[in-house]
Amino acid sequence: MKRQYFSTFQLILLALFAGLIVIAKIALRLPLQLPGHTGIFWMAILIVAARVVPRPGAASLVGLSSGLLSAFLGTGDFGPLDTVLSYTMAGVGTDLALLLLGNPENLMTATIAGMAGHLAKFLVKWAIGVVSGAPIGFVALGLARTLVSYLVFGALGGLLGGLTLAALRKAGFFAYLEEKR
């Protein structure tokens, strides 16, 4: 019988991570008026998901699932297409970065992967705006400020994800997973 790319157990874990992202997006609010600040939570979750299910495409699948969930819940200011594509691309960006960099348990790797994933999300939002003929940003510095904010919060989210992975290893979570396998 052909072996599945993701086991049922892994798919359940990924679905849980997708749900966590949506909950984080809705429930965890920092009193910051800075664009992309929620990336600190959900890039962390994506990084953890990519290590807990160590297969290329895990982060992308979490991104797609959370994007679909969020679109159904009506989050995001620019409609469901923007939501699904941007969430998915955050996962794809993270996966691509991890393909190049390797294990996200390394804090530098996790930080850069977080940055890459969040940049991919921003890229999609910006590209949709360009394609749909949205007016050029009202504030000239708005785009640069938003971009820097996305990169910083993506990096912080990645770092937080890396630290979470270190804590999970210390707690014996990965040994438990190995045992289960």
């Binding site: 530098m108 790797t109 749909s132 949205a134 009202f138 708005g142 785009l143 971009l147």
Partner: protein
């Protein structure tokens, strides 16, 4: 390839993409010289204000410095919306006597194909919080506490025109 080389490649790619976005945005800004029904070119990114069919001004970022920021927490998702009251923006270009309670104000977005029709009576009431917030991509979105603008479905994202007509 060792780890350091990979990290350098990844960081270079991130910087190249970020730089590419900023360069394209800069080129677009230079190319756009908006002319909206008048021979007066409006600055790129400015929002034309049309009064009784005639463009009287373009609302520019410099105008924001003259205005006080306000904020409210929207009921739908509990997010804070922060920006500038439409009332204050209009009063930068129009005298109060030019606006009557039943003066119609339409804020529209050509890219989103959305618009909101409001009366001056609704707009001038500060507690209605009819205001522009800056979206993540640096464009203006019209938000409010008014029932017809209460949820994001009804907000006017990427607003690029304000039309005022007096009866």
């Amino acid at each position: 390839m060792n780890r350091s080389s990979r990290i350098i490649i990844a960081l270079t790619a991130i910087l190249a993409i970020a730089g590419g976005i900023l360069i394209i945005d800069w080129v677009q800004r230079r190319q756009v010289a908006q002319v909206v029904g008048t021979s007066t070119p409006l600055p790129a990114g400015s929002v034309p204000i049309v009064f009784n069919g005639k463009v009287i001004a373009g609302f520019t970022p410099n105008d924001l410095d003259k205005l006080q920021q306000v904020s409210f927490v929207e009921a739908e998702q509990g997010k804070t919306q922060q920006g500038w009251l439409l009332r204050d923006i209009l009063l930068l270009y129009l005298k109060p006597e030019q606006l009557q309670d039943n003066t119609q104000i339409i804020v529209s977005s050509s890219s989103q194909e959305k618009s909101a029709k409001l009366s001056w009576a609704e707009v001038k009431e500060a507690s209605n919080m009819v205001m522009f917030d800056l979206s993540n991509r640096g464009t203006l979105k019209l938000v409010s506490l008014l029932p017809q603008l209460k949820t994001r479905n009804y907000w006017v994202q990427d607003a690029d025109r304000i039309e005022i007509s007096t009866p």
